[in-house]
Symmetry: D4
Subunit: 161 residues, 8 copies
């Protein structure tokens, strides 16, 4: 009789949470990722900040990374973590940092593997769908990193569709 109850329970559970057809997903191509990263680096440089900018795809896998001539050796890691965090959690890392500062029980969000809860990460979206993330690290303040990340997205905004 075990076969029968499993059939029943499993069917009830998954039928509303999954689809038997293959998924069709949009994703960020290398070309746009390079533009986003280079604009983010250049935007920070124009303000005197040496940074790394990383772009990950919708699955959080690195697509492009650039480190400015005088950006510190920690910035490839910090920019990639910010990009991953934004792509996977689907909010700006700056908002996440604010959330954590206000809500101690959310503080451990920052401890999830691969996450970094510092301003500078922004989800890359087409409409409402997240198709990647950009992260910037190296400026003296998360809001400054975020402004450069936003400049990168702005550069290609009209082609994110």
């Amino acid at each position: 009789m075990k076969r029968i109850f499993l059939a029943a329970t499993a069917s009830l559970a998954l039928s509303s949470a999954a689809s038997a057809e293959l998924l069709v997903e949009k994703n960020i191509p290398l070309d746009l990722a390079v533009e986003i990263a280079s604009e983010a680096v250049a935007s920070c440089k124009a303000n005197g900040y040496e940074v790394s900018a990383a772009v990950v795809d919708r699955a959080g896998v690195l697509r492009a990374l650039m480190r400015s001539d005088d950006a510190g050796p920690h910035t490839p890691s910090s920019s990639t973590s910010k990009a991953y965090t934004s792509a996977s959690l689907r909010i700006k890392t700056g908002e996440m940092a604010d959330l954590i500062a206000k809500n101690p029980t959310a503080a451990e969000l920052a401890s999830i593997e691969g996450f970094l809860a510092l301003g500078g990460g922004i989800p890359i979206k087409t409409g409402d769908v997240v198709i990647g993330g950009v992260g910037v690290g190296g400026a003296p303040g998360g809001h400054l990193d975020e402004a450069c990340a936003q400049a990168g997205i702005d550069k290609v905004q009209d082609r994110l569709k």
Copy 2:
């Protein structure tokens, strides 16, 4: 004479802490784990949340994991960590997060290897004995993750004996 004192001290110490008979332990089987995970994923999906749900056995080893079609790439790790934390510490991760928020000297509980102090993890019990743990990650709030985890347990509650 060393032999003699060791005999005495070791016997005093361990005789009350261990048994020489083999232990006989209950554990969560795959079948129930699959039901718990699928119901947890489905319950969140019904509310619009894309999550991963993980079930670990009494030793904290992964038994089953499901990731919803649009759940972020960080959720397999976060859900597994919540399940592990609940199974090993034997409290809900949400209670653990509250405890830490109130008691700074307990904050480092969250730093134990493999632990994640975010709501969404629940011990799986038969009577008072913990036989595993379920963890859910991906909903916008630990209490929402926990509700889905509870839905998973509720589905099989009458068979946890």
Copy 3:
């Protein structure tokens, strides 16, 4: 003048390697992943082998995992690694193991982060496109693990399109 040469060189390089349009990709949904994993576990069990079966998506992120009641604690990790390897390298891990055995200079393929060069991993394809991977671990031989993984894919083959 620097601006000008960069424009030239970068454009030459990337224009043939990337597209400015968003990528549209097929991916394995949870529903099929659960069927593949459960069939793989059941197929091994029918032959007396206790295994874990893992399914990852096209980006190598875990989608579903099941561990048989008596499968060893190492099998969640080994099955996931085999699935990841097959999805990312796009060959069966058994072929990869053969390749390495014959060609010492390829041996270090096995050292790539997250890879495991043991039979039991198979890419999941729709037509010629890899949309995920399945890995099985725990049977006494990579060819036995692979047979179970294949059974999982066979079960859903007609819907992989």
Copy 4:
């Protein structure tokens, strides 16, 4: 209609691989683990070898470890890895090392997370059921480590039931 096919496929797959009743498992208690480890250390010491001996439970979690006064700092890690490997793979690590030496396509078994394919690890069994593992590291040869591990098991053999 999706609900119906899932009910069918999932039930067919898992019904033979899992049981809906809770599992009841035997496991190694601390008391016997301490005896095994101390006898293994003493047996090696009697032959002039300074070693660590580790005992893990059926899930591969450390139950007891002892390091001889002059055993090297690497031996806690090597003995624990051997114990884990034997408990999870359910063969002696010495047999595993022989297997790998003869069969290049099996060589990557040694790369599974937490595994160490060096003689000195032995599964602890009650009848045919593995309930843990013992590993010894530090003697100048895997067969020497294994002899000490065996001495540890022999000491409690009549109580492993």
Copy 5:
């Protein structure tokens, strides 16, 4: 002339910080470590707490570990980390947790590799010299873990000289 200034500076610097004679150091032997660990486990068990107790030597290397029959799978790691922290930092981990709670700029002490700032770790001393550390994990509160660790030390106190 470089040779000359280096001779001067290096000699000034190191001559007061190091000795050219070999160091002679006291260290905790296995025998006492086993007594400490077993008494700590037994002491907690007598109060209804299932714990792991770990003893490390003066260099922080594991000397002995015991995990009670029903202690969670995280406790080998947490007890070892507490023992390491106490042996290396040379204070009780409970005092360290208090220090961190009062002094935010000290909080990152807890992030040092291998450290865990939770009550339950105590340095093992002979006179004023630290020769090891004991850590206990698993009781519902760091002060409870610490009491068991202290019981372990008390048992051998008269022989720590």
Copy 6:
């Protein structure tokens, strides 16, 4: 036409952030690093503190490390992390700890891979250019570690040009 827009965008972006000529960078040599580390260790020793002192180059790679005869086993790691943090972030780790204590949204700076936000790290500069970092760990307070690190730099200050 894609080639053309890429030429335009990439050129605009990177032309201000990078130079096509090879970079020419100053870096800390071994000789000075040894003097800094040995003076830092000696300075702490003179005050009764047993520490490790580490010097990294401008890229954060270890150049020299010395551990005092009775400094704890955690100090090579903590001193190296402080040196890396200061070299890469280009501020004293003590200032970083103060910043974090005052500004919760900056707290996660401490979580960047390889960073340690505890007093005791100081950038090594020639003029305004950072060419390395020194970190000290083991004294009972970050300000005490920092004083020793400063003593190390002071010793070679006139040659940092």
Copy 7:
């Protein structure tokens, strides 16, 4: 008298191995790194291979990375490791793989932290001085990866001075 002998020995040792003047080093700028990476990706793409290309600076720190639209998720890691290996060891990773295949006692070179002994990595030199490394991963053979890496270097060869 200790001060005196130390002055003598230390001065003899280091005076020939280090210089008290600051080092002046050439390094690869972002602009050239972007050209190398983009040409490497494009060169492989032109032959039908989807790859990642990574460029590290002389210290092995990532300077630029690009992943082709359909390159596997393992390629950012494998390309970065090859680039690091070539920059630090200062030979092509293909030569390293050949060396290891011929000389078993050199095999463990491949186990150095961060190294990957697979063809596809090439040191970037100005004259005889290594100022970085490029690594390519994803083509079906190390020699194919290497050809693309070489194409990247060739593109900027005349400016590497």
Copy 8:
């Protein structure tokens, strides 16, 4: 009755493997470690090889490290691993590499955590007792690294007592 058998078995086992008196151990001081490392670096430099030299104490904990001005960024890690391996296993890493090349079942020795089976590591002994290890990395061949390590030991040989 359990108390009685435990008294008997534990006493038999450990009484010959451990001593209840505190251990008294010789260890390498910083002063000699600095001489060994600096001589090793200088010896290699005199032959045109840029290396790192690391000295660990008897417990494998880093005591001193120096990296030559142009030694690759991987050499701090490789030299430290060689030193650790030699100190803990108590043979030269070159002998270990030979052993592995001849004996496939010993190959996995190289996989022990922290070990590196490449020539260049030598135990530091006083009489027959190992009190530390020195490792050199960066020369083009393990035998060349070993010669420099030996030069370091030779420099202080008469004081290793």
